[in-house]
């Protein structure tokens, strides 16, 4: 039981918050634009 809780704690320690996911996704998108994968985003 203790080991399970420890594993759960370890797992949740590595879980990203919604905030952090938004930053990761936005930075990834910015890098893809910088790398020229997406050349033009229309509006």
């Amino acid at each position: 039981m203790g080991a399970e809780r420890k594993a759960e704690n370890n797992e949740s320690r590595w879980k990203l918050s919604l905030d952090s996911w938004a930053v990761v996704v936005a930075l990834l998108a910015a890098l893809l634009i910088r790398a020229g994968v997406f050349k033009h985003i229309p509006w």
Partner: protein, 361 residues
């Protein structure tokens, strides 16, 4: 051999399944947002072609109104709910990408001014809401939640504080409902007052960032006025959001000292845990843009991507606002919130007008 006890377990939702579950709602956000964009383009052109006098209504308002109409008539079916809840994610991603349109110098200059105003606004709002809560004999923790929600950053601040001061679920849903209802009202009243007072884009953006509580509503209220006002509202609101950790920490220590919440162990870890990470992402993109990591076309592409993310957010703001649910939450917390919000709106308007005269922006 020991007996085997079978404990019913809740199976964790697989990431792939979780991803599939959000797709319908995200598509709904996209459809409503895009419909708003088409309405902005076509209604104006149609009115012009028929020589009608019709105000130019931005996609922001169309998307919110369409979302509100669905939410308050047919309601949002269960299948769409997980996806609609992602609007917060799009908001934060959009703010990070918006960093490309700010040069570091602008952030330091405007951020410096807004930091002073934000500090005054937070202290003034916390003091006034606490006074009102006592006057209306609200429960002390409910007063704390309403005060933090109005002073710092709406729903996120209430959720962060609820955990730290061990407030009841009922108190937090009261406060969230009051803040959301008042945010929805601010969305429609702020631009009208701004135009009535002929506020400049900068003054209005500052006011929206200081006076509107929830980040999504502050972003929308700014964008409803003008693009420049929207940019500034996001900057000021992000400065306010950055203060969340300090305010929550102060309240956590206060309630722990009264023996009504757990003591805070590592204060630095507490601050980092509560700090909104999207503010760091916004600053990072802005630093990269300042040092020409992106060329002009790429900055344009990032700005457009940010607009698409906000488009989904605005649709979500409308869809998650249900006036019937809000009415169920009771009148007293709403009355305290409403009186407080009006006072804070007037107070922050005075601050902005004063700052405009002093700093001459």
């Amino acid at each position: 051999m020991a007996d085997v006890v079978t404990v019913p377990q809740v199976q964790p939702v697989q990431p792939a399944l979780r991803f599939l579950r959000v797709i319908p709602g995200v598509l709904l956000l996209g459809a409503i947002g895009y419909a708003g964009k088409l309405l902005e383009q076509n209604v104006g052109a149609y009115a012009k072609a028929h020589h009608w006098t019709f105000p130019n209504i931005e996609y922001v308002l169309w998307a919110i109104v369409l979302g509100l109409a669905i939410s308050n008539t047919v309601g949002v079916p269960e299948i769409f709910r997980s996806g609609v809840a992602t609007y917060e994610f799009w908001l934060k991603a959009g703010i990070v990408l918006l960093g490309a349109r700010f040069l570091l110098g602008d952030i330091l200059k405007l951020g410096g001014v807004s930091l002073v105003l934000v500090a005054i606004e937070i202290v003034g709002s916390l003091a006034f809401m606490t006074f009102l809560g006592r006057l209306f004999k609200l429960k002390p923790k409910l007063t704390t939640l309403l005060a933090v929600g109005s002073a710092v950053c709406g729903v996120s601040a209430i959720i962060a504080t609820k955990g730290a001061i061990e407030a009841d679920d009922e108190d937090s849903s009261f406060s969230i409902a009051a803040i959301l209802a008042l945010g929805a009202l601010a969305l429609f009243t702020f631009p009208v007052i701004g135009h009535f007072l002929h506020l400049s884009d900068r003054a209005y953006g500052l006011w929206a960032g200081l006076g509107v509580d929830n980040t999504a509503e502050a972003t929308a209220a700014g964008a409803l006025y003008s693009d420049a006002a929207g940019k500034l509202a996001v900057l000021v609101k992000s400065t306010r959001n950055a203060m969340i950790g300090f305010v929550v920490l102060a309240y956590a220590i206060y309630w722990a000292s009264k023996g009504q919440a757990q003591a805070v162990g590592n204060k630095a870890a507490f601050l980092w845990q509560k700090f909104p990470k999207f503010v760091l992402g916004f600053l990072l993109i802005s630093v990269l843009a300042t040092y020409h990591f992106f060329n002009k076309d790429q900055v344009g592409a990032l700005a457009n991507l940010s607009r698409w993310a906000f488009l989904l957010t605005f649709a979500g703001v409308g869809l998650r606002t249900n006036f019937r649910d809000m009415r169920k939450q009771g009148l007293r917390p709403f009355a305290v919130g409403a009186i407080g919000e009006v006072a804070i709106a007037v107070f922050t308007l005075g601050l902005v007008i004063g700052a405009e005269k002093i700093f001459g922006f």
